[in-house]
């Protein structure tokens, strides 16, 4: 009897890779992709790893593939930018064992700095691009992707979106295939991409494109569902989660449901469009399909109707399709508060190790070049510290660029903040740049000794690998020494006085400084000490403690209140109370 499990898209992708006999899998954590490698690491026969960054993960997977194993790399959409360099040339070399790159895109930016549409990477790298619409397809398409990869000698892009990565639906499990290691022989004409070889391989890529285009007209990855009655005269060309929303709204319309998004087959699209009154391309974000279909000279509507920003939803599609004259019934929310509700943005946790440093940076009124991680929340009230947040690593380099543009006086008021995992990802090269080009920037590594934002993954500094086994730990101090930084300070971010003194000294120094603010993530170590308490008689209700932005602290009736259920007793608020009215907790 077939076993069914309720799996998220990411769990299903991991299951699919396991069933496909994948041997090597690498990733850098990033929402919404993280759980793919976390789950793959649970299968003993898979050599899974957290790589320092996505380029490394992609290259490790490519190497494993060339050597004959099935391999996988997984990353969030912006991670593919980091991995794009090897990806675009690995497209030329092709594979040994099958290789699949999973890109987890984040329309609506639930946890991202942009909402780029990575289907364009399929076009750019000229590699087949699959997109699943639920967890069953997520698993099935991984298996199909390995077949495609080996049949057409190409890496395959499995493009997903948050709504599929993080939604659960039923998945039929199958027995795992044997792990096959294909023969390896040295083939420089295929794998050494010097110009002479690459010119010949580009020809192979173009021949592959034509073969894949023909395949796209025959494969059951793409499916025509002929509709019924009046609804059936409208045809939707769609893929991924958009298909599910449309099936709720107009179940009897006609559908060309694409699983293989690149390349497209013109004959298939013409066959679908023939005889329909209207053809509407429904895709989240960019008009990737629409642009290609219009270029074929096929009449279709698309982004004139369908929003180009954010996620689609059943509500949104009902509204825009009704507006476009389709027989869709719009209905309204029945109950709603008339008042504008306070938002509940994410915040630094009670006991967060970053809180002390952001309090200090705010108090010193410094410019702060920020980075990607929990500490991006240093931009939120009450801190409002950050001047910039662009991408992984851009704090270190960005601060140096600001220094070059505005000179020493600015550099004395500017720091870069970057987490430990992000520092290993792409902060190191920026630091080398500052040393080599004789800058004077002050860089703070907010070292909470874990990759926290994505849910506590290990990294090269934690001393454990993806399976939790002991691993060598990179020593940031020795690393900085070895690249030529002379001013290195390790501080406890909860020593507010010490932090301030250290910052003042390092900002004044006319050479590069590295401050390592080291304290473990409170959530990860489950910090739980007796809650702090307020001596009500001493409290003057000044609100100085609220400048810590701690969710366990509030002021009501002119007195500070510590929420005992929320407070973890980190001991920071007693340091900032001008009346010494907040005391550290004591064991009951």
């Amino acid at each position: 009897m077939t076993e069914y499990q309720l799996l998220s898209g990411n769990e299903a992708i991991a299951r699919g890779a396991y069933e496909a006999g994948v041997k090597v899998a690498a990733a850098y954590p990033g929402t919404p992709s993280t759980e793919i490698l976390e789950n793959l690491a649970g299968y003993d026969r898979v050599l899974a790893q957290w790589s320092p960054n996505e380029k490394v993960a992609m290259e490790v997977a490519a190497g494993a593939s060339i050597a004959g194993a099935r391999s996988l790399a997984a990353m969030k959409h912006v991670g593919v930018n980091v991995a794009a360099d090897p990806l675009l040339t690995f497209s030329y070399t092709g594979v040994g064992g099958g290789m699949v790159l999973v890109s987890a895109d984040d329309p609506a930016m639930h946890s991202s700095q942009n909402e780029q549409d990575n289907r364009y990477y399929g076009l750019l790298a000229k590699i087949p691009t699959l997109e699943p619409a639920d967890s069953q397809e997520a698993k099935d398409f991984v298996l199909r992707a390995y077949e495609l990869s080996e049949t057409f000698d190409t890496p395959v892009l499995l493009r997903t979106t948050t709504r599929v990565n993080h939604s659960k639906s039923l998945v039929a499990l199958a027995a795992p295939q044997e792990q096959i290691l294909r023969d390896y022989e040295k083939r420089p004409e295929k794998y050494v991409m010097t110009p002479g070889n690459a010119i010949r391989r580009h020809q192979v890529v173009e021949e592959r494109r034509l073969a894949l285009t023909a395949f796209a007209g025959q494969t059951d990855l793409n499916r025509i569902e002929r509709g019924r009655g009046e609804q059936g005269r409208v045809g939707f060309i769609t893929a991924g989660i958009s298909y599910q929303y449309l099936k709720e709204i107009l179940p009897d319309a006609s559908f060309l449901k694409l699983g293989l998004l690149w390349p497209l087959n013109e004959g298939l699209i013409r066959e679908f469009a023939a005889g329909l009154d209207r053809v509407i391309v429904v895709e989240e974000l960019e008009p990737v399909l629409e642009t290609q279909i219009l270029a074929m000279g096929i009449a279709a509507e698309g982004k004139a109707i369908i929003p180009r920003q954010g996620e689609l939803s059943e509500e949104t599609l009902r509204r825009v399709l009704a507006g476009a004259g389709l027989p869709v019934s719009p209905t309204a929310a029945v109950y709603a508060s008339a008042q504008s509700l306070p938002p509940r943005p994410p915040i630094l946790c009670p006991g967060c190790s970053h809180r002390g440093m952001f309090y200090t940076l705010k108090a010193m009124n410094l410019h702060v070049a920020g980075d990607i991680g929990c500490y991006a929340l240093g931009s939120a009230p009450p801190f409002g510290c950050l001047d910039t947040t662009i991408c992984m690593g851009a704090s270190v380099t960005g601060a140096f660029g600001m220094e070059l543009a505005r000179g020493e006086a600015f550099a004395e008021k500017c720091v870069a903040v970057i987490g430990d995992s992000t520092f290993f990802h792409s902060g190191i090269t920026g630091l080398i740049d500052i040393v080599y080009n004789q800058g004077r920037s002050t860089v703070i590594v907010l070292d909470n000794s874990i990759t926290a934002m994505t849910g506590h993954q290990d990294n090269p500094g934690t001393g454990r690998d993806i399976k939790g086994q002991p691993a060598p730990a990179v020593d940031i101090v020795k690393l900085a020494e070895s690249i030529g930084i002379r001013r290195i300070r390790v501080v406890d971010p909860f020593d507010l006085r010490g932090c301030r003194q250290t910052l003042a000294a390092e900002l004044a120094a006319p050479e590069p400084s590295l401050i390592i603010a080291r304290r473990p993530c409170a959530l990860y170590v489950r910090l739980r000490q007796p809650p702090c308490r307020v001596e009500t008689a001493d409290c003057i209700g000044c609100g100085a403690c609220l400048r810590l932005g701690c969710p366990a602290l509030s002021v009501a009736g002119g007195k500070a209140i510590v929420d005992e259920g929320n407070c973890v007793g980190c001991g920071l608020c007693p340091q900032v109370c001008p009346k010494n009215a907040i005391r550290e907790g004591v064991e009951a």
């Binding site: 309720l6 929402t31 639930h110 946890s111 639920d134 948050t162 709504r163 993080h166 939604s167 659960k168 639906s169 039923l170 599910q244 929303y245 099936k247 709720e248 709204i249 179940p251 929003p307 920003q309 954010g310 996620e311 939803s313 059943e314 509500e315 949104t316 009902r318 509204r319 869709v328 019934s329 719009p330 209905t331 309204a332 929310a333 029945v334 109950y335 709603a336 508060s337 008042q339 504008s340 509700l341 306070p342 938002p343 509940r344 943005p345 994410p346 915040i347 946790c349 929990c374 929340l377 939120a380 009230p381 009450p382 994505t454 849910g455 609220l546 932005g549 969710p551 602290l553 509030s554």
Partner: protein, 218 residues
């Protein structure tokens, strides 16, 4: 109005041109939709897991959607669960939820627009102040439960943590709330008990079964 609703729900300015305008209604068909809303760290996940398991045991298709990432840092979190013979979208629509379980009073008000006419709003009597309220930039609504009742919605509001604490552990509050939900869904008690037993460590199962019964008795 709906721009304001969406702004309230996603907790950020709705100036991107997405999801604005008329909100347009319930998922089609006879499927059941439940929304489970709370604050990161409150443990809404277990409740949705048990509900999904019950539906699977009843032979239904289940889809469940939740967004995590930054939300686990004290932000507003919500899980959508849809059950039925054939489910396409994993998301409950505005005006489409047969029940909303809110683990916190402000979140009840935030996700109220998802409740269908005649649906049940289950509210845990707990208030967690969001940072804009703590800093004084915004005010916590005066009486969310009364406000929802005044709109004519069906509401069951309980201090589930207190009920669970009386049974031995406040952390079983989520299963108390599930007990209330169970009264509105057509699944046999035996399925719920099986699902609870399978979802929890053995030593916690007995306590949670009592919590479930306490919820049913509310």
């Amino acid at each position: 109005m709906s721009g304001n609703i969406i702004g309230n729900i996603i907790g950020k300015d709705n100036n991107t041109g997405m999801n604005t305008g008329m909100n347009t209604g319930a998922n089609t068909g006879a499927n059941t939709g439940v929304l489970i809303a709370g604050v990161g760290g409150q443990g809404t996940v277990l409740a949705s897991k048990i509900l999904s398991l019950v539906a699977m045991k009843a032979g239904l298709e289940v889809k469940q959607s939740e967004i995590h990432g930054m939300s686990q840092r004290g932000g507003s979190v919500v899980t959508h669960v849809r059950l039925g013979a054939r489910v396409y979208s994993p998301l409950v629509t505005l005006g489409g939820a047969d029940a909303v379980i809110a683990f916190e009073e402000l979140e009840a008000l935030r996700y109220l627009p998802y409740l269908r006419s005649g649906g049940l709003m289950i509210v845990n009597r707990q208030r967690l102040l969001p940072m804009p309220v703590i800093t004084g930039a915004a005010q916590y609504p005066a009486a969310p439960v009364d406000e929802i009742r005044a709109m004519g919605a069906r509401v069951t509001a309980v201090d589930a943590a207190a009920l669970a604490r009386d049974l031995g552990d406040a952390r079983a509050a989520n299963v108390v709330l599930l007990g209330i939900l169970a009264r509105t869904l057509p699944f046999a008690g035996a399925l719920w008990r099986e699902a609870i037993g399978e979802s929890l460590k053995h030593q916690l199962a007995a306590l949670n079964l009592r919590a479930f019964e306490a919820g049913q008795a509310v």
